[in-house]
């Protein structure tokens, strides 16, 4: 059991577990001590010397990251000696730094900029020419290296050695000639772009974000990566109505501070040409239609099939990319129609034993927890058989996963003989041309909701990119169809639907949106309700 002790920092008493790094204890208490090489998820290196503080009883200044908390420590961070040390360290770091901030991608979120302004001296005294080293070096598929900007904190070296255990990046030579470079292999591991996140300066840059928009123009939104069922916590950077980059957000219960490269590059589908208006197919070719026309046709088609062949002739393919609330509404719609054959197509891909999971969809677990699908393959084969046997006359398809799971030709052949097909899709797909009604789907960045990850942790997503005016999200489409079928007049509100889920489903009991917060919470195990770990946001 951790032994909580009291220490005094700048006259303020703070409590911290004995033995943790002093720097972490001070950061947790909200004391902003400058540091470069320390990272909470990496081993301690002590190479930047910037976090030096005065501890009473010690002969010299001590670096706070490599000092363990002991009971009764008296620490001074605002001491004149410490301030002078910081100024000196920053001056030495800037000796060879090229100061090419105008062309550096890190400018605006660079720790060297921030600390130089706050703690450094404004004038360099060196008259020697700066070191000339490699710039824009091609070190990997997705990464670039600028050796001049590197301040040799070795965070990336430790990341490659300890987290990915591949060890591509190394420091060569010693002392003033030290230089960061790749060793025998290129920096191509599936988490390589995390090195750009943890680099305190712009030495490691991602190719994807190289010479693009300035970081200070972005609006940041906390969200969840839609790439696989791990549900890594991310921030979404939006500007001019599109996404420019994703980067990980700390959540110790899910992804620490990392995310994989394919997830990070997986935002592009949001910006690609999308279906922006509903399509209806009257004469063999899809044509643009208004929302109300499309809704009327979809409701009319579904009701006609139900009245002619009964509700069991309606099948539905549930999307594991929609939020839990939207799928709950979809379930209500299908129940109102009397549909029985529900299935979910989950695309699968490569996995590893760290973050990347095989199920390439964010909310497959959420659909299963709602009880909409069952079985090993989520009812997919049973649905396909029914369609091929002609027992299903109408199919409501959400998403484009069918193409990835059974292939494009199979999809087109599957939809061909059906009486009525409605789809919700991000892009206009030729295989879906057969559909009588095609609604534009909403991506994860354009809506509020909750995803449930593979381990059963409910996490919130939020609107990062505003959809066009008059837009109907997937949940709104389901609600409008339900309105037309049951003669109701409701609007879709994710918050109201979530409280309905939380009230009705024991797995979601008590999980209010406030409770989920930014870091989410695990689903309730009705048979084993005990104290649950609540992770607090890092300072």
């Amino acid at each position: 059991m951790e032994n909580i002790v009291q220490i005094v920092v700048d006259g303020r008493t703070i409590a911290a577990p004995e033995g943790v790094p002093l720097l972490q204890a001070m950061l947790d208490a909200g004391i902003d001590v400058p540091h470069y090489c320390y990272h909470p998820k990496l081993s301690i290196d002590g190479s930047c010397r910037l976090c030096a503080v005065k501890i009473e009883g010690m002969p010299k200044l001590q670096i706070a990251c490599n000092t363990q908390v002991r009971a009764g420590m008296l620490v001074h961070t605002d001491d004149e000696e410490a301030a002078q040390t910081r100024r000196g360290v920053l001056e030495l770091l800037l000796l060879n730094h090229p100061l090419d901030c105008p062309i550096c991608d890190k400018a605006g979120e660079c720790w060297l900029q921030n600390y130089s302004v706050r703690f450094g001296s404004r004038r360099g005294r060196s008259v020697m020419p700066r070191r000339k080293l490699g710039k824009r070096l091609d070190i990997g598929e997705r990464m670039l290296l600028d050796q001049e900007r590197c301040i040799l904190c070795r965070r990336c070296v430790r990341f490659c050695r300890e987290i990915t255990k591949t060890g591509e990046l190394l420091i060569f030579n010693r002392g003033h000639r030290s230089v960061l470079d790749i060793g025998d292999s290129r920096l191509d591991n599936p988490y390589s772009m995390c090195t750009a996140d943890i680099c305190p300066v712009g030495a490691l840059e991602t190719r994807d974000f190289h010479h693009r928009l300035r970081v200070w123009f972005f609006t940041q939104t906390a969200s969840v990566c839609p790439g696989c069922s791990n549900g890594c916590n991310i921030m979404v950077d939006e500007c001019y109505g599109q996404i420019w980059r994703l980067f990980p957000r700390r959540n110790d219960a899910v992804n620490d501070t990392w995310m994989c490269d394919s997830g990070r590059l997986g935002y592009r589908f949001v910006n690609r040409p999308r279906l922006r208006h509903p399509l209806i197919n009257e004469s063999g070719a899809p044509s643009a239609a208004t929302w109300s026309e499309a809704l009327e046709r979809a409701a009319g088609g579904l009701i006609r099939v139900r009245d002619t062949w009964g509700g069991s002739a309606i099948g539905a393919l549930i999307s594991p990319h929609l939020t839990t609330e939207e799928n709950f509404r979809f379930g209500e719609l299908l129940r109102a129609l009397g549909a029985e054959k529900l299935a979910m197509a989950v695309p699968r891909g490569a996995a590893d034993n760290f973050l990347i999971k095989a199920e390439k969809a964010a909310n497959a677990r959420g659909v299963r927890e709602l009880g909409l699908v069952s079985g090993e393959d989520d009812g997919l084969n049973s649905l396909l058989q029914s369609v091929r046997a002609g027992r299903i006359k109408a199919l409501y398809v959400c998403g484009e996963d069918l193409l990835r799971v059974i292939g494009a030709e199979q999809t087109a052949a599957l939809l061909q003989p059906l009486e009525f097909v409605a789809v919700q899709t991000l892009r206009q797909i030729p295989e879906y041309a057969r559909a009588a009604v095609a609604f534009p789907a909403t991506s994860f960045a354009e809506k509020n909701g909750v995803f449930v990850n593979h381990a059963g942790r409910a996490q919130r997503i939020a609107v990062a990119v505003d959809p066009p005016p008059g837009w109907m999200s997937d949940g709104e489409i389901f609600t409008q169809l339900l309105n037309r079928i049951e003669s109701r007049a409701e609007r879709f509100s994710p918050e109201a639907v979530w409280s309905q889920i939380a009230a009705g489903n024991p797995r979601f009991a008590g999980l209010s949106l406030d409770r989920l917060g930014t870091l989410g919470a695990p689903l309730v195990d009705p048979e084993n309700i005990g104290p649950q770990t609540v992770h607090t946001a890092p300072s």
Partner: protein
């Protein structure tokens, strides 16, 4: 609801004192004095101080803040590296930059650099923010166009050779102690 008329009573004009009459006479005297001086001033060798625009042009002082333009280096490229500081400093958000990468040593250049001159208010903050002396306030003040679209200036239209902006750049260096 029927339209109703409400009579508003205006206070009658009041002459508060005889001083206002004197002020009118004093103003008229100033005007007349200038008229006479300009009509007959040539007798005492007085020069015209008006300029026959547009046949004649006035050479403005370097402190004049005209339209912001981009400095073109001798190799024909823009000096701008698309760092985005002018875009950030601009109080009216009239600048729009999209950067791109080049093979040259500077790595970065503006692929798109637009200034919306209907919004620009000639404050000169872009020039002050620029770390590369790449955007300066020129002497160009004739920026009227026949359409609103003509007020959106693109990078190609904004480039001005450095030699023609020398006075302003020297002035800036003396002002900001660069």
């Amino acid at each position: 609801m029927a339209v109703q008329v409400k009579k508003v009573l205006r206070p009658p004009p009041q002459i508060t004192s005889w001083r206002s009459g004197l002020a009118i006479i004093a103003g008229l005297w100033v005007t007349t004095r200038h008229l006479i001086a300009n009509l007959f001033g040539f007798i005492r060798g007085r020069q015209d101080f008006t300029v026959y625009y547009p046949e004649q042009r006035f050479l403005h002082a370097p402190a004049l803040r005209g339209m912001p333009v981009l400095v073109q280096m001798e190799n024909g490229r823009e000096r701008c590296v698309a760092c985005g500081l002018c875009e950030w400093a601009c109080p009216t958000s009239c600048i729009c930059i999209f950067p791109a990468e080049t093979d040259s040593e500077v790595e970065r250049y503006p692929e798109i650099f637009d200034i919306d001159m209907t919004r620009c208010m000639f404050c000169g903050l872009c020039e002050e923010a620029c770390p590369e002396e790449a955007i300066v306030m020129s002497r160009q003040i004739e920026i009227s166009t026949y359409s609103r679209g003509g007020s959106l200036w693109h990078k190609e239209d904004l480039l001005v050779p450095e030699s023609r902006l020398r006075t302003r750049i020297d002035f800036l260096r003396s002002q900001y102690g660069r």
